[in-house]
Symmetry: C2
């Protein structure tokens, strides 16, 4: 049958999001979610919210949340951008800032969405290989480019770079926009935020999905110079003016206002991580130094997919990427101490 | 100062969303919001929701809500697409379906976001003038094109077309994707949904912002053939897999499950609309026949901007568009009976 309308459809490889296991009794260490609930005031927001308010459009500009975030980070509200999760922020930033014929640069092992966005928006890109220990090589970015995006800490390796490294990167990349994707920064890495005053071409992207336990609420944000943020706003407002619903705006603000709970939660996850890393090393795993809420591990005697399948049979879900250079590695999200003990017990039994 | 990174930024006219008046005592008839609260079960959803669930990612595929919508409209779940408000659905549909060198066609007076998306995604377009009474001329679309998008009813005119008209349009446009934007359809117009079985190139877009009083929650959806929906999913999943937060998914489902409240709310708004239209005609206004939750009016003796300003002084906010052909028209959202009486009293005093 002849269907000419099919010729007008966008041809694109369907990117399929990971299936979330739904069973009740599973230990879910596969999506880098936080094992602790969001700040208690988020529950209060929901309990007391007057649903009649949902009939009205949200504040398209999210003034209240921007102002709260600006206060926390010591920047102006005009230096804050909000999005429907940091994926939304990054997708808009790729469209807003990577408008050159030169390739955008990022590591060969990194967040799998970067090439997807480059393909969707037809942005040329090149990957820069990590070194043999999965460290970012700063000199690899000393080449003409259309922009740089670097996660710090990197995923799925978990390794972070220092503020000196970031400054070196920025010093050598002043003619393009440099995006530092800090999805996992709150678990112990150094943020690029202190460099915002010095580098107008720096955009720092963060999320409330991990450290603030709000993955289900979809809240991301970016901090940058006013020229970058206003460009991002222009693109966003040409796409969808109302990306943030009223409950996301309210929940995000409640979370940021409880700094103590936030610090305490991050500290607990980091402690469990360090204890789990030591225990895994005790079982013979090689564990990359992690500044995130996950561990990237390999075992010299057991193949990663075999370990992965074994744990799945035990209702413990972790993450395996069938990708070059990391085909024998596993990513394990940090859960509660009890969850990690059950994982360690299962691994000990297996080995 | 030389700043080469500025050359790599996207140059785009900043689209600025309308400022929402914040004063407490205003009558807000400027944003086509519903004056009634959402279905009572939405309040219950919020009250009982366990905030700990927010730590987990939502179902990227929104299976439960898709299945509920599929049931209501008599289609398969694979024929339903979900988005962060219908603006998100439309923005993705423009990227997914309007991939031709030929111009996309839509009315000269219509939703102001269509040219914004065309500019953002670099899609060629042409407008087809409405007739002298602001009716859509179906024969204007009988020309080679890269796609058609038509709101039914149209905004800001409020006029609708019949199912026969839509079938005529589809008969003559089978080689492109035809999008019918039904943001206001529930207040009395004929939906194109019954044509879905016959036209694989038809996409129907609806929203929960108006008839379901959920503007603050950002829920839009599209219904279409499986080939259109899967293309839309591929683009969406290449942009942001998690556009819908867990509360939006839950609130939307609760709303669709209460058909009785929905029908009753739409009926009340339509009754108030028809009564208000008659009263405005009694005051000398020309009122276009409306199948929406707003009226598009003009007065032969008073200039629209003057009426607009007068009402604003009285804390009554309506909408004025400073655009060709409609520079003497005003758009008035239907509020409660009491709100409309206060509007009518103010207009009577003015005239």
């Amino acid at each position: 049958m002849d269907k000419p309308f099919l010729d007008k459809l966008r041809k694109i490889d369907p990117y399929v999001p990971g299936e979330q296991p739904q069973a009740a009794d599973i230990i879910k260490l596969n999506a880098n979610e936080n094992p602790y609930p969001p700040a208690p005031c988020v529950q209060e927001i929901l309990r007391r919210f007057d649903a009649a308010q949902l009939a009205l459009y949200p504040d398209a500009n999210g003034k209240a949340l921007k102002s709260t975030l600006a206060g926390r980070f010591g920047v102006k509200p005009a230096q804050v951008f909000l999005g429907n999760g940091s994926d939304d922020v990054l997708a808009l930033a790729f469209q807003a800032f990577f408008c050159s014929d030169r390739p955008v640069l990022y590591p060969d092992i990194t967040y799998s969405f970067y090439p997807v966005w480059c393909n969707l928006f037809r942005i040329p890109y090149e990957t820069v290989p990590l070194d043999g220990d999965f460290r970012v090589r700063v000199r690899g970015y000393d080449q003409p480019n259309g922009g740089v995006i670097l996660p710090n800490p990197n995923a799925p390796t978990g390794r972070g770079v220092t503020l000196d490294f970031l400054e070196d990167l920025l010093q050598h990349n002043q003619d393009c926009v440099v995006i530092i994707d800090e999805a996992y920064v709150d678990f112990g890495a150094q943020s690029a935020v202190p460099l915002l005053g010095k580098y107008e071409n720096l955009l720092v992207v963060q999320t409330m999905s991990k450290s603030r336990s709000l993955a289900g609420m979809r809240i991301g944000y970016a901090l940058g110079s006013e020229v970058l943020i206003s460009t991002l706003e222009a693109v966003k407002n040409s796409y969808n003016s109302y990306t943030m619903d009223v409950l996301a705006l309210a929940a995000g603000q409640a979370s940021v206002e409880d700094e103590r709970y936030f610090q305490e939660t991050c500290r607990r996850v980091a402690e469990t991580r360090d204890r789990s890393a030591a225990a895994l090393r005790g079982l013979g795993f090689t564990v990359l130094p992690s500044l995130t809420n996950f561990l990237f591990v390999t075992h010299p005697k057991k193949e990663a997919p075999v370990i992965f399948e074994y744990l799945r049979q035990k209702n413990i879900y972790i993450r395996y990427f069938r990708l070059p250079r990391i085909e024998n590695y596993l990513r394990i999200t940090i859960g509660t101490d009890e969850q990690m003990d059950r994982l360690l017990d299962a691994l000990q039994a297996f080995l």
